[in-house]
Amino acid sequence: MSAVPLSAKPAIGAGFRLQWEPAQQAHVLLYPEGMVKLNGSAGAIMSRCDGVRTLGEIVADLEHTYGATGLADDVIAFVALAMAREWLEIQA
């Protein structure tokens, strides 16, 4: 799995829709006749992937929001996993 650079701008993959579901208290990823319920950290990352912000900015935002440091490796690993599943794509 190749590392995603911090300059990349991830966006929700074509054919997927991300939204917050109050009834499930979770972000979900919707696609034709299916749904993935995201856990808290996956939801926090993916809800910031708007195709505008860089991965570096997303990591900084997450570290600020959750009062944590050193999240870059975990975030990059998740983004790579999500890209393999086409949940995320990198804008050209």
């Binding site: 009834a23 919707l30 034709p32 006749e33 749904m35």
Partner: protein, 384 residues
């Protein structure tokens, strides 16, 4: 009222069967055979109310189906309302009635996905496989679906009469530019149950079809994803039908009856509520019919003490009822069921050499086409 003490989640999946009207007459349709006896269709405002109430409960995946949903002229307004409520909206259609003007309007209304079904009946099978009229319609609709930037998702129902043509069907799907193809073997409810003897493929047919599909997969690689759904009669464990009745799935039939699965209206001893008389919340959380098969208290042996009961919930209640007469029995597909021989006998009959089944052969049990006249005739008869 039946009580259920467990935690009930939201009806995540809402299926609206907008109408039983359909221009096609498929012999494998799962709609009830007595659909002609059901009451009038809900009007637009009632469907809108169902959408709002179910969304408030947490419904998020929406299927618009039928019959053929496009025979109604309010699908565009229902899609617009559903989209604004936050549903992911799937249209399940034969393509009949899907003009360029309508697909443009549906796209503008926020439709997320179209599943195009090849609902070839035997009357149309030759037409379909010989690339004539049906092919022209499907090809036109397929190109519209691509033009409006939807993924091209084809669903083909397989049965004894067409399963040997799976190679031709896949080649056709490739010519149409399909991204996903679901080769779904018939499930035996409604009209398909009536026609089971003519529709159940033999084990050899099934194996050949799976091999053909595998070879095709290897040739096309990642260009086209193909899902092959084996008929559950050929499995040794039952499907986890609806993830358990009353767990995530809610169907509303054309006349407003609420069901925990599309086929459940047949289940004896249960009075299914109607959205004309009760809120979706009351139906989902409080009605006896929806609580009846929740949890495990209803189970009989061998399910009751089975370590796999939380995995498959005893299989399908409708199949248990159709085959054994008691919906609380284990689904006979399970080889632990004391009624499993009903399945093995059906498979044995399907595997006997027989002449190619034909609708025209007068000396065989005829295929019954799903149409209004047949439904009126069948409505007077108790289900087998």
């Amino acid at each position: 009222m039946t009580s259920f003490s467990g935690r009930v989640g939201p009806p995540l999946w809402l299926l609206l069967e907008l109408t039983y009207r359909c221009p096609l007459h498929c012999v494998f349709c799962y709609n009830p055979t007595d659909f002609a006896r059901t009451g009038p269709e809900l009007d637009t405002q009632s469907w809108m109310r169902v959408l709002r109430e179910a969304r408030a409960l947490g419904a998020v995946q929406l299927g618009l189906s039928g019959g053929e949903p496009l025979v109604r002229d309010d699908v565009e307004s229902l899609v617009a309302e559903a989209h604004s409520l936050g549903y992911y909206v799937n249209l399940i259609t034969s393509g009949v009635g899907l003009s360029e003007a309508r697909i443009a309007a549906l796209k503008a209304a926020g439709l997320d996905h179209i599943q195009l079904s090849f609902q070839d009946s035997t009357r149309e099978l030759n037409d379909f496989l010989s690339s004539t009229r049906t092919f022209e319609l499907k090809a036109r609709v397929a190109s519209l679906i691509k033009k409006f930037a939807y993924p091209m998702v084809l669903n083909v129902v397989l049965h004894r009469l067409n399963i040997d043509h799976v190679g031709a069907i896949l080649a056709l799907a490739e010519r149409l530019g399909a991204d996903y193809v679901e080769l779904a073997n018939t499930q035996y409810y409604g009209w398909a149950w009536l026609n089971r003897a003519q529709l159940l493929p033999s084990r050899e047919q099934l194996q050949r079809a799976e091999e053909t599909t595998q070879r095709f997969r290897e040739r096309v690689g990642g260009r086209m994803q193909i899902f092959f759904v084996v008929p559950d009669y050929y499995e040794s464990r039952p499907k986890a039908c609806m993830n358990g009745l009353g767990s995530v799935f809610l169907t509303i039939t054309p006349d407003g009856t609420a069901l925990p699965c599309q086929a459940a209206r047949m289940l004896p001893g249960l009075t299914f509520p109607n959205v004309r008389e009760a809120s979706v919340r009351a139906i989902w959380h409080e009605s006896a019919a929806f609580n009846h098969f929740r949890g495990e208290a209803w189970m009989k042996e061998p399910c009751r003490s089975c370590p796999e009961r939380s995995k498959d919930f005893g299989g399908c209640r409708c199949q248990a009822y159709l085959l054994t007469g008691d919906p609380a029995n284990a689904d006979p597909v399970c080889d632990l069921s004391p009624h499993h021989q009903l399945i093995t006998q059906a498979i044995a009959r399907a595997s006997q050499p027989q002449d190619r089944p034909s609708v025209l052969a007068a000396n065989e049990a005829p295929l019954v086409f799903r149409d209004h006249r047949a439904s009126v005739a069948l409505a007077g008869r108790e289900p087998a």
